[in-house]
């Protein structure tokens, strides 16, 4: 029997049981659809996070206190006070590969204007901060060097604060109170919206770092220092330079451990990519289980089908079908079901993935996920079709044909 005839025979059998064939396909359709959708969500999120990070400047460098050992005890980096004004000064004096530098001190608390209030974070920064973050002031102005020197109680605020406190009124020139300290609003930031972690980037108040240090959190050290390398490519040189400056400034001996860490945005992106790849994998595997179950569903249906068609199998054998031919017939059936299911599953997955961005979820369908799904479908068809096919092939034609 040639293979074309076998296909005809198998497809006729599938077609004569449309509902059942469709139901067993459904498992595969949903499984493949789920795998592709999950992959696309994972890949989409990765791409959007990368984009987000890139927007904040790919040449961004962040210096944090850290890796400090006192008597063999590693301490919580957030508690450490290793980044001091002297470090800032040293960087400002010696920097070659670094363009902008801003010490950063943060505080969070209640903000009040009139009878409205909200909770927000205050970032104490230098005037360079907006340039480092590639952020613009929409109304009013950024604070000046003068403001920084005088620890002026001025601030620029994000869109969310404007919405929450001012209810449409012009905030410029008004005094808000942050932790009961009155601060004059001199500018409103351009809206950035939510970032990929779901954080509202507009719920911020930016003030001169000197002001935050002296008047709000009463501290003499920085939480971190953010800088920008002259270009993204120069990030590594900039990190080397900063490390050198800070080690000297901190008087760390040759072979001593740095009491700070410097992370570049490129490095962050790398870490995020790896994390998102892992997330994608986990999502894919979870969805993959539904494919496995779908495969078992096909096997179940095929086993029922073989039993139900015992007589037909007996007849086919009586008129000359060999066991091999019978088993191939059933294998083709199961592969056909799983592959057709796979095609519809891909359509479903691609369809769902293209709808997701409309619901605010990023998604990108990677081509390899489609090929992978097809491959998995064929493997499922063969794997789970094998047992029913063998059962059919091993039937005794004498018993089979008289089966009632």
């Amino acid at each position: 029997m040639n293979i074309l005839n076998l296909f005809k025979v198998s497809l006729r059998a599938v077609a004569s049981n449309k509902l059942r064939s469709f139901l067993s396909m459904l498992g595969i359709i949903i499984g493949v659809g789920a795998v592709i959708t999950m992959m696309s969500i994972g890949q989409g999120s990765k791409a959007s996070i990368r984009e987000e990070l890139a927007k904040q400047g790919t040449n961004l460098l962040t210096i944090r206190p850290g890796a400090d050992m006192r008597g063999g005890v590693r301490r919580d980096p957030a508690q450490m006070q290793t980044l001091k004004p002297a470090d800032y000064e040293a960087i400002m004096n010696e920097k070659k590969y670094v363009t902008y530098v801003s010490p950063e001190v943060t505080a969070s608390g209640q903000v009040i204007y009139g009878n409205s209030n909200t909770t927000s974070s205050m970032y104490g920064e230098s005037t360079d901060y907006l340039k480092i973050k590639q952020w613009d002031v929409q109304d009013g102005d950024n604070f000046t060097e003068e403001d920084v020197r005088k620890s002026a109680k001025v601030c620029i605020i994000g869109k969310t604060i404007v919405d929450e406190l001012f209810n449409g009124a012009d905030p410029i020139g008004k005094n808000i109170r942050f932790k009961s300290i009155p601060m004059k609003v001199i500018g409103v930031l351009k809206s950035k919206g939510y970032n990929s972690w779901g954080m509202d980037q507009d719920n911020v108040i930016i003030a001169p770092y000197t002001c935050v240090m002296k008047r709000i959190s009463a501290q003499t050290y920085y939480g971190s220092i953010v800088c920008s390398a002259i270009t993204e490519e120069m990030s590594d040189h900039a990190i080397e330079e900063l490390t050198d400056i800070l080690r000297r400034s901190h008087k760390i001996k040759e072979g001593g451990i740095d009491d700070f860490t410097i992370r570049s945005q490129a490095e962050m992106m790398e870490t995020m990519s790896t994390t998102m790849d892992t997330v994608t994998m986990i999502l894919g595997i979870a969805a993959g289980f539904s494919l496995l179950i779908a495969g078992i569903g096909i096997m179940n249906i095929m086993l029922v089908s073989v039993t139900e068609r015992t007589k037909e199998i007996g007849l086919r054998m009586a008129v000359g079908a060999t066991g091999l031919v019978i088993s191939i017939q059933f294998l083709i059936e199961s592969i056909f079901i799983s592959l057709t299911g796979g095609i519809f599953g891909v359509l479903l997955g691609v369809g769902a993935s293209s709808l997701l961005p409309k619901m605010g979820m990023p998604s990108i369908v990677p081509a390899w996920s489609i090929f992978l799904s097809f491959g998995v479908c064929v493997v499922i068809g063969i794997l789970f079709g094998y047992i029913p096919a063998r059962k059919a092939a091993n039937m005794d034609p004498i018993d089979a044909i008289r089966h009632e």
């Binding site: 029997m1 005839n5 006729r12 004569s16 086919r316 009586a318 008129v319 079908a321 060999t322 044909i401």
Partner: protein, 253 residues
Amino acid sequence: MKEENNNKAVIELDNVKRYFHVGSEVVKALRGVSFKIYEGEFVTIQGTSGSGKSTLLNQLGCLDTPTSGEYYLDGVPVRKMSKSQRAHLRNKKIGFIFQNYNLLANTTAVENVELPLMYNNKFNSRQRREAAIKALEAVGLGDRLYHKSNQMSGGQMQRVAIARALVNNPAVLLADEATGNLDTRTSFEVLVLFQELYKQGHTIIFVTHNPEIAEYSSRNIYLRDGQIREDTINTNIKSAAEALAALPKPVDD
């Protein structure tokens, strides 16, 4: 049987025994059966249930092999053949007709008849269709080629089954109680068809428990307890067509 000797022996059984092991007991279904069937004979094989009829049919149909002895189908020894070799042999040399027709459900007459040729590489789809149409015309169903099996009467279904048995031009037609499921009138109609095929020179073996059918065949083998009790040539073959005409007319309703 002497007058048949100038013909070729299509079937030759040489002391065929078939034993089954059921638990610790040995069931001797065939206890040494020998006979020859020549080309163009219409042989009925009779016997009560338990006589070894079915076992003999399975042997003749190459569905089973003898425990000892040898069976030659069209000169080919069958006993040592593998399962798939026997499948190929069945495909070329045997046409089966079953009591309950065994047609594929939801499938047209012509597709049912094509089935044996699907397993024969020498036929392409056009040749298959031609041969199936020819076989259906030969059994008088030329006007029902594309009727599905569930749209036909029992008699028509059995004709389709006969056409299916004929389509590969087999050495022998093997009918297993082929009229068992049919009413008297339809049974005679099918018998008429078998007699026509006999006259055209087909070799037919008709296994039945109905002694009446033996009167319409050319030879009768009677089986009991796994052995041949009688093997007689029928010199006075009754005409099924006459018997059919003699039946009371069906009441139209």
